[in-house]
């Protein structure tokens, strides 16, 4: 095991506490004491107090700190560290030539005041808060208002909200005002309602009574403890903590603070997994106006989207050449959803065709004119295998116009003729299809041989235009006669049309056999008694011709809004449909922008509705129960044996962790004077205890987090775990000094940034000339140099956009949906329309705004170790994998931005290769190239082809994005 300072913990002193004097506490359970500044030899190096602590340790090991990093390295370091973006070249040069001795400190101040600071540092907090925009689990439903918490956190960092207030707002925002005298509970400030979202961000599955509540409150208990106290209390849910002094009893005493939590019921129409929101008006400056404007933009988006989509598709048409057609089957409505299967063969050519549509109960197969048209087509929808047997209440059969299960003609017209419709109770075998084909060839194609009848085995329904009244004895009327009734030869069910305007006429198909010709016409009859309605599989055979320019429907069986219908769609033929081709990323007919534009327009209906919902002035928040008689009162909290929800043990009262307080007395909960609201104030009691300068952990834990994010390693290396498995603390005196300063600076986070960034420790180079340092302290725990670090996933994406000049600086607001690469969206779909596709400017805001979908981490970010949080995460990893290289070099995102980077360089540097190289280096690395580098890169430029008509400059830009220097900070 690890040998660093061992924390002798609570269990011992809990048991001894009642006995004699104050128990002996071990760090970090001792009160924070600033202590004496250590003496150092090289006091000239020590810029501030931090350095004294660091240097003393180094000197004790005979080590010296590294030299100060170059000004160029420092400016880049500060930019990435504080705002997460690369510096503009001009800012770098200005800083380098600035002779003001305070220039560095001023730069720190300027960056801390920069509004982009909050966007970087809030991201770290969101990791801790296990922030996501969906609930996770089955269906992974949208949490439409979670984003407001994200904006709250950005605001909190930007405004340097005192950390103790930040804690209290997130744990007990609803319990800030005192209740005095009569009257209702005081209203809660919208900001505080939003802040409470923190407690509700855990993944959530369908509720199951007591168990769900137990898990929900347990999760709150563990998360609050690890985030604010750095203690892994969660381990004690089932058993006493193995290493730290946290008995199970303490877990449940802590959990009892949350026992009065009440989550609003879902709004009508929302899934149970989402829960309900609470009112929280827009409170940030300009937010209300912004929401109004966005609402009206979205409304007009919705109105225009159909038109824009039509225009867009029209403009794409010339890419395709000739337009083909295809036969289709569609099932939809109610529980069936909406599903299509298309074949990939031209049929809308005015000629007769025989199409067999077979369903095996799972998938559809198409055979047109005897040929299998390949793997069942999937133009859109999921190619589900719905058969008539799946329609909940079929009650009509129709032909012609689509009715969408209503039985009333309303949809697209059919133009063409039906010779016959046959329905079989099984998928037709090869022999049967051959026999049908021969029958068809003889009757409609004039072939001499062939059977006089189609196969009869399993034939359940047969509309035959050669025998309209289903009576072979009576002659068929002549061609041109209006058809008001058409009887099926098997069951005798009759399709009728009394309205002369909608009546089809008799015609000839292929010039040989009678057919019923439809020109925007329609027929309908009852489905009662049709035996095929109960089947789970079967075949629909159509003998038909069509001359359609748009989708037209054929044989429909439906009822109650559900239906199964055949269709012919001229633009459906696999190889020739614009929609299909736009969705198929393997062809090169369209640019990525065009594809994204298509997805965007195509899905407006769905997404605008969802975005409008997100714009409601509410938050995913919670509150306390009002208590009797309105709502449940204070529920007893039991210790749950082994953590099992249905295994209650002893009842406990809310109390603070005994490893911190030294006793396990119940906490005093301050109720209103009239005790009208006994369910109130529990969480505030806890919050006040945590957010107190007397709590030994709170300030230490937060200061350590800040240190961790600045140096890549905390003074305690596991920021959410100050317990025994943490590996101990490297420099507790330093941590305590910082914690003390933090509290004295009224919990100002920025004050800690300022101290750290202005220290000589922070300003060290990443290389130390003394080779012994690496021998003595290989992991650089003592900080004999600055740690070189890779940018986090979000900063990589943001930097690419910043350098290409395309970062949308707009702050706050709804989640964004940058385009997903290729067909990944399809591949991991639950609901393929969950991810809006914003190929435009709105999708290029900073990464913190990206929609956090628990079941789909954006692949680009994921390859750089980002995570959509399910649990609180206190640190990021830095993996190196080939997939990351592929994402960076081949991926849509970077290669597209490389084009814009090149364009920017071209505009700034003109045609001269050396000047181009210089400009590109300045933008990407904040430094000019060395002569050798210029030469090598000019060589690349001259030997490269840009490809696809592009300048070779894009090759250089691609290379620079892929360098280590671009994503590593010295």
């Amino acid at each position: 095991m690890r040998s660093l300072p061992v924390l002798v913990l609570a269990l011992g002193f809990i048991h001894s506490s009642g006995l004699c004097e104050e128990p002996k506490r071990e760090w970090p359970f001792t009160q924070v004491q600033p202590g004496q500044l250590p003496e150092v030899k090289n006091s000239g190096w020590a810029g501030n107090e931090i350095d004294r602590f660091i240097l003393a340790r180094l000197e004790s090991k005979g080590l010296a700190p590294a030299e100060e990093a170059s000004r160029r390295a420092l400016v880049r370091r500060l930019y990435f560290d504080l705002i997460g973006l690369p510096p503009e070249p001009a800012a770098v040069e200005a800083f380098i030539v600035d002779k003001d001795p305070k220039a560095y400190g001023k730069l720190v101040d300027r960056l801390l005041a920069d509004k982009r600071y909050g966007e970087r540092w809030a991201r770290f907090w969101l990791d801790l808060a296990r922030y996501a925009d969906t609930a996770g689990y089955e269906g992974d439903p949208d949490l439409p208002h979670a984003w407001r918490y994200r904006d709250y956190v950005i605001d909190a960092f930007n405004s340097d909200k005192p950390y103790n207030l930040f804690i209290r707002e997130q744990l007990a925002g609803d319990e800030f005002s005192d209740v005095m005298g009569a009257g209702d509970l005081p209203g809660v400030k919208p900001e505080h309602v939003v802040a409470l979202t923190f407690l509700r961000l855990a993944p959530f599955t369908e509720p199951r009574g007591d168990e769900t509540r137990h898990e929900l409150l347990s999760e709150m208990t563990s998360t609050v403890s690890s985030v604010f106290l750095g203690l892994t209390v969660g381990c004690a849910k089932c058993h006493d903590h193995k290493y730290d002094g946290i008995p199970t009893r303490d877990f449940y005493r802590m959990k009892a603070f949350f026992s009065t939590v009440q989550i609003p019921r879902p709004e009508p129409g929302d899934g149970f997994q989402i829960g309900g929101p609470l009112p929280a008006g827009f409170y940030r400056p300009g937010e209300k106006k912004w929401a109004e404007n966005l609402r009206s933009t979205l409304d007009s988006d919705l109105k225009n989207s159909k038109k824009l989509l039509g225009e867009f598709l029209q403009s794409m048409k010339p890419r395709l050449g000739d337009v083909g057609s295809g036969a289709a089957v569609q099932a939809g409505g109610g529980p069936l959803g909406n599903n299509y299967a298309f074949e990939k063969r031209a049929v809308s050519d005015g000629k007769p065709h025989l199409t067999v549509l077979s369903s095996d109960g799972g998938r559809w197969s198409f055979f047109t004119d005897g040929k299998n048209t390949g793997v069942p087509g999937t133009l859109s929808g999921s190619n589900s295998g719905h058969w008539f047997g799946d329609i909940p209440g079929p009650n009509f059969i129709s032909l012609g116009k689509h009715t969408q299960g209503s039985g009333n003609p309303g949809g697209n017209p059919y133009r063409g003729a039906f010779g016959e419709i046959l329905v079989y109770d099984h998928p037709l075998a090869e022999g049967e299809r051959a026999a049908l084909q021969e029958y068809y060839g003889r009757k409609y194609g004039g072939k001499a041989a062939g059977p006089a009848e189609p196969p009869r085995a399993g034939l359940r329904y047969w509309l035959d235009a050669s025998d309209l009244d289903a009576n072979p004895e009576s002659p068929n009327p002549a061609a041109g006669t209006p058809v008001s009734a058409w009887k099926d030869r098997i069951t005798g069910l009759e399709l009728v049309q009394a309205d002369g305007k909608l009546q089809p006429k008799l015609a000839m198909l292929g010039g040989r056999a009678p057919a019923v010709s439809f020109d925007d016409d329609f027929m309908r009859g009852p489905a009662k008694g049709a035996s095929f309605l109960k089947d789970q599989a079967g075949s629909i055979v159509s003998i038909y011709g069509s001359d359609l320019s748009a989708e037209g429907y054929g044989f429909e069986v439906g009822g109650g809004g559900c239906y199964l219908t055949t269709a012919v769609n001229p633009s459906a033929s696999g190889a020739r449909s614009i929609e299909n081709l736009l969705n198929d990323f393997s062809n090169g007919l369209f640019t990525a922008e065009e594809r994204y534009r298509y997805r965007y327009l195509q899905t407006r209906d769905k997404f605008v509705k969802q975005h409008l919902k997100r714009l409601k002035p509410v938050a995913m928040s919670l509150r306390h129960s009002y208590g009797p008689p309105y709502e449940p009162g204070v529920q007893a909290t039991h210790i749950m044996i082994r953590g099992e929800y249905d295994n209650p043990g002893e009842v406990v009262r809310p109390g603070f962790l005994s490893c911190i307080t030294g006793d396990d007395k119940p906490a005093k909960i301050r109720l209103d004077p009239f005790k009208r609201w006994p369910t109130r104030s529990r969480r505030m009691t806890l919050a006040n205890w945590i957010a107190s300068s007397k709590n030994p952990l709170t300030a230490r834990v937060m200061v350590n987090r800040l240190w961790h994010w600045h140096f890549g390693r905390g003074i305690v290396a596991t920021p959410s775990d100050f317990g025994k498995l943490s590996g101990g603390v490297v420099n507790p005196e330093l941590l305590d000094w910082l914690a003390d300063r933090f509290v004295k600076a009224r919990w100002s986070v920025k004050s800690v940034h300022r101290l750290i960034c202005n220290s000589s420790t922070y300003r060290q180079a990443t290389v130390n000339r003394d080779a012994r340092a690496a021998e003595v302290d290989p992991e650089n725990k003592l900080l004999w140099r600055f740690n070189r670090r890779r940018l986090e996933a979000e900063a990589v994406r943001d930097s690419v956009l910043a350098v290409s000049g395309r970062l949308n600086p707009e702050q706050f607001g709804l989640p964004i949906f940058p385009p997903l690469p290729g067909s990944i969206e399809e591949a991991v779909k639950w609901d393929k329309s969950k991810w809006d596709t914003q190929g435009g400017n709105e999708g290029r805001k900073r990464s913190i705004y990206i929609y956090q979908q628990r079941t789909l981490n954006m692949p680009f970010l994921q390859s750089f170790d980002s995570t959509v949080c399910d649990t609180s995460r206190d640190q990021r990893r830095t993996s190196v994998t080939p997939l990351q290289s592929l994402a960076m070099y081949n991926g849509d995102f970077v290669s597209r931005e490389a084009d814009f980077f090149a364009q920017r360089v071209r505009e700034l540097a003109g045609d001269d290769p050396a000047r181009r190289v210089e400009q590109a280096f300045l933008l990407a690395f904040a430094r000019p190239p060395k002569p050798q580098e210029t030469a090598r890169m000019v060589e690349l430029l001259s030997s490269s082809e840009g490809g696809a008509g592009k300048d070779s400059l894009v090759a250089l830009c691609r290379v620079l994005f892929n360098t280590s220097e671009f994503i590593y900070i010295d």
Binding site: G362, L725, S863
Partner: protein
């Protein structure tokens, strides 16, 4: 306490002395690094997929984990319970003393549902298999069945996670991630852990099912895409030729080497340079995996590729065999889309549902077993059949017109074949109703421990320090099911 903590989430950079210069050289299993040990951490950061020695010797080098989403009905597939047919339509004759979810379900009106399928004995082991799985039935003497497995939750979301990651809450690494972390990858030109999805959509929880959780990103499941280029970003940017790309990679390498000047102790930067070379080779190697055009007609037939219903899963199975041949450590095949007609979640019409689902997978799975065996690969490949839960022997609320079955987290049935699995054996047993296990209870963590054991790993030693605990797949530890290991 786990003395052999393999790694931790503590950051830190590592000096050259930790860097095994042979470790990131790509091809094949050249680099036989150390077994999992306390200094693994350094290796993991240099080359996370370097081949590592197992904890103990086992035949299986690969695992194909087949997940059938929705909850496969055990009494209509691999558990013969004739008493259900006698009780068909009536309540269970003897309500067992039981607590929790099942008690809830039984306290509602319910009607027993007999299996609509015929069962027959197969093989020397005489195992009863339903007539829905005539192809798989031929392999019973190679298969070990596990009956009556308890999972932690009866909802699809949590139980799917429990079976695939060992934890009903999201955020934990999936089995494939653990196995990749424990053993590394024999083929450095391919991801170690590949996911082949149902072409019709994703299972419950989507990508969380193949998540690397808190393990490094190198252990994530890589999705093999159903069409086009098999792995995301494998295709060069539009208009960039292979020659041009090589030029750019050379310039890149030159710049990265320059950047490394004076920082030669930085193994991460070093690893990055190698990663680009690997990526370059992966572009060449990987597309071949999905090119099944050169498979023999007889092979296509064996997997059912020529027949509509079986073509989908048949292709998934065939790809899995190709992945095994190319040294991919772990393949996850998913069949069933989370909700709707493609899910095995047959609350209504278990007969129709089972007919449809079983038809899609019976022949392909059998084809995979046959093919692996005839190529001598079954010896070194552990094949697992799994679902997220079992189903109840009854339907709540009465039979209805098309009887179905409810969720049952007490009686999941799984099976394994290949590697050191003892063919024709079984572990666990359910009561006469297939309601829950009788005798020694088997928890999902025991199955996880068994899978790891069969891959040469000990669940108690395969740990990762995260958020204050040495995490492992089996959480509090599972017991290997010795009875199914030869």
């Amino acid at each position: 306490m786990t003395g052999n903590t393999a790694s931790s989430d503590r950051p830190g950079r590592f000096s050259r002395r930790n860097f095994l210069s042979s470790s990131f050289n790509g091809f094949g299993a050249l680099a036989l690094g150390g077994a999992l040990s306390s200094d693994l951490r350094a290796d993991v950061r240099v080359n996370p997929l370097e081949v590592r020695l197992p904890h103990h010797q086992r035949k299986a080098k690969h695992c194909i984990f087949m997940f059938f989403g929705g909850g496969v009905s055990q009494m209509d597939s691999f558990e013969y319970k004739p008493v259900l047919n006698k009780l068909h339509g009536k309540p269970l004759s003897r309500i067992p003393e039981i607590s929790g979810e099942l008690q809830g379900r039984l306290s509602f009106p319910h009607a027993t549902v007999g299996s609509p399928f015929k069962f027959q004995r197969y093989g020397e082991s005489g195992k009863y298999i339903s007539d829905r799985f005539p192809h798989i039935a031929r392999h019973v003497d190679d298969i070990a069945f596990i009956h009556g497995i308890k999972t932690d939750n009866q909802n699809h979301g949590p139980s799917t996670l429990h079976v695939t990651t060992g934890d009903q809450f999201p955020g934990s690494p999936s089995i494939g991630s653990w196995v990749s972390y424990g053993l590394g990858s024999p083929n450095q030109d391919m991801p170690s852990y590949v996911v082949i999805q149902d072409p019709r959509g994703a299972p419950t929880n989507g990508a969380a099912v193949w998540s690397n959780g808190y393990l490094p990103a190198a252990y994530q499941g890589t999705l093999l895409r159903p069409k086009g280029v098999p792995i995301l970003n494998l295709q060069r940017p539009a208009g960039v030729s292979a020659t041009q790309q090589r030029k750019e990679f050379d310039a890149l390498k030159w710049l990265n080497r320059k950047h490394l000047d004076g920082k030669s102790d930085d193994t991460e930067l070093e690893a990055r340079i190698s990663a680009y070379e690997l990526a370059f080779r992966m572009q060449m190697e990987a597309p071949e995996i999905v090119d099944i055009s050169r498979e023999k007609e007889s092979t296509r037939e064996l997997y059912g590729l020529n027949h509509g219903p079986t073509a989908g899963f048949g292709r998934q199975c065939l790809l899995a065999r190709r992945l095994v041949e190319r040294g991919v450590r772990y393949s996850l095949l998913v069949h069933g889309v989370q909700i709707g007609g493609y899910s095995w979640d047959d609350h209504g019409d278990v007969k129709g549902g089972m007919i449809r689902h079983s038809r899609e997978v019976d022949k392909p799975v059998s084809g995979l077993l046959t093919d692996l065996k005839q190529r001598g690969l079954l010896e070194e490949t552990l094949v697992v059949w799994a679902s997220e839960m079992g189903r109840t022997p009854f339907r709540n609320g009465g039979l209805g017109s098309k009887p179905g079955r409810e969720h049952n987290s007490y009686a999941l049935c799984m099976w394994m074949a290949g590697g050191d699995v003892k063919g024709g054996s079984k572990a666990g047993e359910t009561d006469e109703f297939s309601l829950r296990s009788v005798g020694k209870p088997i928890h999902m963590r025991d199955v996880h421990a068994t899978i790891l054991d069969l891959m040469g790993l000990e669940d108690e030693r395969l740990t990762y320090l995260y958020a204050g605990r040495n995490r492992r797949l089996t959480d509090i530890g599972g017991k290997t099911l010795e009875e199914i290991i030869s």
